[in-house]
Every structure is written in structure tokens, then in C-alpha cells.
């Protein structure tokens, strides 16, 4: 176990923690959301999906760069584990 593995494990733990926090929030607010009238729910869903799509378009360049960096990191990890 080297420092790089520890760093990766720490980041993985942080990711899991954030996912758990997100899921907890989803379950916490879902019951209130379900109580809303159907028309309000549909309105909110449409509005939020439009918002998310809009933000994705605005930040597409950043998302592509980060995606490429993740790809490069995966390749390097593959090389690190299998070839060296």
C-alpha cells in the first residue's frame, strides 16, 4: 500500500460519503415532494430538467476537459497496475 493508493482510497471514501449525503437528502425531501399536486410536481420536474440541461450546455467545455482527464487517469491506472 503506497501513498498514491491511500490518496485514491481517501478520495473514494469522500465520494461514497457525498453520495450517501445526497441520497439521504433525496429520501428526506421525497416525502414532501410526493405530497405536492401532480401539476406542481410536473412543473418542478420540467423546470429543474430545463435548468440542468441549460447548465450542462453552458459548462460543456469544462465537463469535456474533466471527462478527458478522467479517461487519461483510467489509462494511467491501468498501466500502473498491469504493465509496470
Amino acid at each position: 500500500m503506497n501513498l498514491f493508493s491511500l490518496y485514491r482510497l481517501a478520495l473514494f471514501g469522500l465520494t461514497l460519503f457525498e453520495v450517501a449525503v445526497f441520497l439521504r437528502k433525496v429520501f428526506r425531501y421525497k416525502k414532501y415532494f410526493d405530497k405536492l399536486p401532480r401539476s406542481v410536481r410536473q412543473f418542478l420536474q420540467k423546470r429543474s430538467s430545463r435548468f440542468i440541461l441549460g447548465r450542462t450546455k453552458v459548462h460543456r467545455r469544462d465537463l469535456i476537459i474533466n471527462g478527458c482527464l478522467i479517461g487519461l487517469l483510467l489509462i494511467l491506472n491501468f498501466l500502473l497496475i498491469n504493465f509496470s
Partner: protein, 152 residues
């Protein structure tokens, strides 16, 4: 204190002029701190309103008065007092936003989106820095392994 706050706002609103916008532009950026952070999208909406030449002067004067109160260091609670110093400014901003209501709506929606953009940009930057540091670590790891294999 409430009376003093209202009197100051009335004074700033009454004496508001176009040249104040320049003054506000120069100092507004420095006000992103303390309680003002919480109402920053509203501050930006007010700023957009005063920059809009088509906005009605009466509403604009109130917005200018509020922003002048915000940038003024000597108000009901002087801004130099930690934590409490900007709470009166934040309360005043909320009051002005409630008063301007519908007129401010078009600036507010845009501001909320811009606020989200700032946060997304910040997170993207953090993710990129983390990924780059991981890539550097991986490259160093590969190099160290290669060197150790050659030596061994």
C-alpha cells in the same frame, strides 16, 4: 436604530444620481463577505437594475440608495463590527427586494442562474485540480516502479 437606518436609506434614495452607479461599481465587489454572502444574488439583481437604462427611475433610486447604504462603512451598525456589521445591510437589501418585487424579478432569475454558474465553475475547478494531482501521482508511481524494476 431602525429609524436611523430608514432615515439613511431615505437620504441616499433622495440624493441618488447616475454618477453614484460608478461609485457602487468600484466598491460593490469588496462587499462579498459576512451576511451579504447569503443575499448576494439579490445584491447582484439590484446592481443589474441600476445598470439598466430602461428601469424606472423611482425604483432605480431606491436600489441605488440601498447599494449606497451597503457600501457606506458608517451606517446603523458600522460595517467594521465583525459579524453584526453587515446584518443591517442584509436586512435592508431583503426589504428593498420585497418592495421592488415584480420589477426585480427579471434580474433575479438571471442572477440565480449566474450564482449557480459560479458554484458549478468552482466545483469544476476543484475536480480538475484533483484529477491533475491524481494524474501526476500516477505518472510518478509508474516512473518509480520502472526505476525499481530496472534496479532490481
Amino acid at each position: 436604530m431602525k429609524l436611523q437606518k430608514e432615515e439613511l436609506l431615505k437620504k441616499f434614495t433622495r440624493e441618488a444620481k447616475e454618477s453614484d452607479i460608478q461609485k457602487i461599481s468600484q466598491k460593490l465587489g469588496k462587499m462579498y463577505k459576512g451576511a451579504i454572502k447569503e443575499v448576494w444574488p439579490k445584491v447582484q439583481a439590484l446592481y443589474k437594475m441600476i445598470k439598466d437604462p430602461q428601469a424606472a427611475w423611482k425604483s432605480k433610486a431606491l436600489a441605488i440608495g440601498t447599494l449606497l447604504y451597503l457600501i457606506s462603512p458608517l451606517d446603523a451598525i458600522p460595517d467594521v463590527i465583525p459579524a453584526a456589521g453587515l446584518t443591517d445591510d442584509a436586512a435592508l437589501i431583503m426589504g428593498t427586494v420585497a418592495m421592488l418585487g415584480h420589477e426585480l424579478k427579471k434580474y433575479l432569475v438571471k442572477s440565480a442562474e449566474e450564482f449557480a454558474d459560479i458554484e458549478i465553475r468552482k466545483h469544476n475547478r476543484k475536480v480538475r485540480i484533483t484529477l491533475i494531482s491524481l494524474i501526476i501521482c500516477a505518472v510518478i508511481g509508474i516512473a518509480v516502479k520502472l526505476v525499481l524494476e530496472r534496479l532490481g
